[in-house]
């Protein structure tokens, strides 16, 4: 066999990142950046994307030192058994919280715009059912599924362009008038939408071509940044910044302006296909969490962990009582979650550097 059964190809890794990151954040993005940065919201996104690329670089530096170890193994090796396990558990909790948050935001949209009367738990159970099923089957299956979902996303983005008849570029001018501080604030708010690629910490040993990982990751992040920035530009152009700031879900309002020959409501068509993306994002995070747990228990019992951990994600998704609380959770996860992972990575890097630990060096001995 050309490729080892358990390894991801380049395009598969690209697909995993794209599916993990592109998710619920995109629908609230125009409003969050408009509040901080006004018309220049799309510049904030580009800034946030650059930040994400730097973040990815840090991740890669850490992973490069330990080519066959996933995050729990790295942290145990670097920090010792007790502290290492604690750090891993923090990451696992973060992964579950992120999965829950993604699902909750999506279910809020569906509950508001599409299926108003269906009780929420039905959505959570259905999504979780598929997520658990996908995560059980392992990384390669996950990656193959993500590949197919990315192809689906291309179709979705074609449909995304239908409201362009109403585009007015005057809404986006003048560029840069809001000032650098406002744009930077907007970038911070936008960061929730970029979370997801830190799964590299867990997937690194599973990637076939580790020489090209950094390149693929950066290409994926640039691609995502362009998509997000393009989405904000389109929303501002069609709805105008003032009207965007009035909307709770600006992208849905933007999509409703479009029309297809066979569908009156473009937003429901897009949401239908977007379900796949959401499931992809949740599945990648859930897999990252449960695989880390399995690694902590000696690289065994992964299938049992996947069957057992879903209540955690369910709780996170069902916990917020109102839309205001959902947005608070999103804010929290975006700021503190990102900070947490950044902190973990920096800590591990620093300690590994200090202790002179490097797996690559060991094989040379």
């Amino acid at each position: 066999m050309a490729a080892n059964k358990f390894e991801l190809t380049d395009y598969q890794w690209f697909a995993v990142i794209v599916c993990a990151v592109l998710g619920a954040g995109i629908t609230i993005l125009p409003r969050t950046v408009a509040i901080s940065a006004g018309r220049d919201g799309w510049l904030s996104i580009i800034l946030a994307g650059a930040g994400a690329c730097l973040f990815a670089l840090l991740l890669w530096l850490l992973c490069r030192k330990f080519p066959t170890k996933t995050l729990p193994e790295i942290s145990v090796a670097v920090l010792g058994r007790l502290l290492g396990t604690a750090v891993s558990v923090l990451y696992i909790l973060y992964a579950f919280v992120l999965a829950g948050a993604i699902m909750r935001v999506f279910v809020e949209i569906i509950d508001t715009w599409v299926l108003i009367w269906t009780p929420d738990y039905v959505f959570y159970l259905l999504l979780l059912g598929v997520t658990v099923y996908v995560a059980r089957m392992g990384a390669t299956t996950l990656a193959r599924l993500m590949e197919i979902i990315t192809l689906l996303t291309v179709v979705v983005f074609l449909i995304w362009l239908t409201p362009l008849g109403e585009f007015n570029s005057l809404h986006l001018l003048p560029v840069g008038a809001e000032g650098v501080v406002a744009i930077a604030e907007g970038a911070l708010e936008a960061f929730f939408s970029f979370l997801g690629f830190e799964a590299l910490l867990v997937f690194y040993p599973l990637i076939a071509n580790q020489q090209k990982v950094l390149k693929v990751t950066l290409i994926a992040l640039v691609f995502i940044t362009l998509l997000y920035a393009g989405n904000v530009i389109l929303t501002f152009g069609v709805l105008g910044v003032e009207h965007t700031m009035l909307q709770k879900w600006p992208v849905i309002s933007y999509l409703r302006v479009g029309s297809l020959p066979f569908a009156r409501r473009v937003d429901t068509v897009v949401l239908f296909f977007w379900t796949a993306q959401i499931m992809g994002g949740a599945a990648v995070q859930y897999f990252a969490g449960t695989y880390s747990l399995a690694v902590l228990t000696g690289r065994r019992f992964h299938d049992i962990w996947t069957l057992v951990c879903w209540p955690a994600v369910f709780l996170v998704a069902a916990a917020p009582q109102s839309l205001g609380q959902v947005f608070k959770v999103v804010d929290l996860v975006g700021r503190w979650g990102g900070a947490l992972v950044l902190g973990i990575v920096l800590l591990l890097l620093a300690v590994a550097q200090v202790r002179g630990l490097d797996e690559r060096g060991e094989s040379a001995k």
Partner: protein, 380 residues
């Protein structure tokens, strides 16, 4: 494991498929067009009229027309539902007709604000204001061209947009121009036509112009059909424009009709002593269909004379449209946006409402005539 999966899949097929919630078209009351009128007895209420096809062989008529009074839009729809044996569905509404009183008094904006929050209504509905009649008269008319009122209205608006006679104004465009600083909304105006007395006209509608609304969504002024052309040229909506005008050439007034092939408008904003000044430059490419001038059009200089006359005509009429909007205080052309782009610190939406009235606006027009008809002597 496989058996569990099979069981789960079958269960989900039955429980989640939603068979009991199916909406069959014959059981739906599909609202296609609604009309909004003032209630003369109670200023806080309004009257909603609706038409929808019945899709039933046993009903007496093809369409069902209803009136209901209410305080709010949702309330009106609930009232409507209480009268029907079918489930009311709003997603197919294609036109909303307002009476002129509703437009002038602020009821229009009140309703539009509520439409924005009705999740199943279509943001691409046509908005119309009717003069001289109530909105219910439009909804209850019997058009000659098409049995269904809503389909007729929808097609009138779409066809005229394609033919360059009216701009495409949808609900979302209204909301966007209302909210956006530096531009105000505009809505097409229709009147009922037909033989017979004023009260009895029910044959159809004619698009007579545009209503200019101010920043509160109240109608302030009316542009007639000729002025509508110039408005559309000023806002770059020159989709297949055909126009007629009367040109002053050689001491005589001559009827001219032409296609406008291309329009471009450049706006140069400036601030002089705190007073806004806008220099507009319009360039047009024109293809003359017919001109009432007995001259050999292939002669030297004829094109230039027509170009100059056209330029003067455009300049005069377009400036007149702009002056009218300045009098009304409605910046429907969107010149405020250009001021905002050039002077982001100076521009404030509240201030622009006053400043626009005093803005000094000049217009320079340049016309290029591609050809003058198909005859050498158009007035032979």
């Amino acid at each position: 494991m496989k058996k569990v999966l099979l069981l789960v899949l079958c269960l989900s097929l039955v429980l989640v498929g939603g068979c009991w919630d199916v909406l069959v078209v014959e059981e739906l009351a599909l609202a296609f067009a609604i009309g909004i009128d003032h209630d003369v007895n109670n200023p806080r209420r309004f009257i909603l009229s609706m038409t929808n096809p019945t899709f039933s062989e046993t009903s007496q008529s093809d369409t069902r027309k209803i009136l209901t009074e209410s305080y709010s839009l949702s309330n009106a729809f609930f009232n409507l539902q209480r009268q029907r044996e079918r489930i009311l569905v709003l997603g197919q509404i294609t036109s909303i007709v307002f009476s002129e009183e509703a437009a002038r008094s602020g009821l229009l904006h009140n309703i539009m604000r509520q439409v924005d929050q009705q999740r199943d209504m279509n943001p691409n509905v046509h908005l119309l204001i009717v003069r001289g009649h109530k909105a219910q008269d439009v909804i209850f008319m019997k058009p000659e061209e098409n049995a269904r009122v809503a389909v007729y209205l929808d097609k009138v608006m779409n066809t005229n947009f394609t033919a360059g006679e009216a701009p495409r104004i949808s609900a979302s465009r209204y909301w966007v121009s209302y909210s956006t600083a530096g531009i105000d909304p505009v809505i097409p105006v229709i009147e009922l036509t037909g033989p017979g007395e004023e009260e009895k006209k029910t044959d159809g509608v004619i698009i007579t112009g545009l209503a200019a609304l101010d920043y509160t969504g109240r109608m302030q002024g009316f542009l007639n059909d000729k002025q509508t052309y110039y408005f559309m040229l000023l806002t770059g909506q020159n989709h297949r424009s055909r126009m007629t005008t009367r040109l002053d050439i050689d001491g005589q007034v001559r009827d001219t009709s032409f296609y406008v092939k291309d329009v471009s408008l450049k706006v140069k904003p400036a601030l002089e002593n705190g007073r806004p000044r806008l220099a507009l430059k319009m360039a047009l490419e024109v293809d003359v269909i017919n001109i009432e001038w007995d001259v050999d059009v292939e002669q030297e200089g004829v094109d230039e004379i027509i170009e100059t006359a056209l330029a003067r005509d455009f300049q005069g009429n377009a400036l007149e449209v702009i002056r009218l909007t300045q009098d009304w205080g409605t910046d429907i052309v969107g010149l405020g946006q250009h001021m905002r782009i050039k002077y982001p610190r100076w521009f404030k939406d509240e201030r622009w409402r006053q400043e626009y009235r005093n803005a000094h606006i000049t217009l320079e027009v340049k016309v290029k005539v591609r050809r003058v008809g198909t005859l050498i002597r158009p007035q032979y």
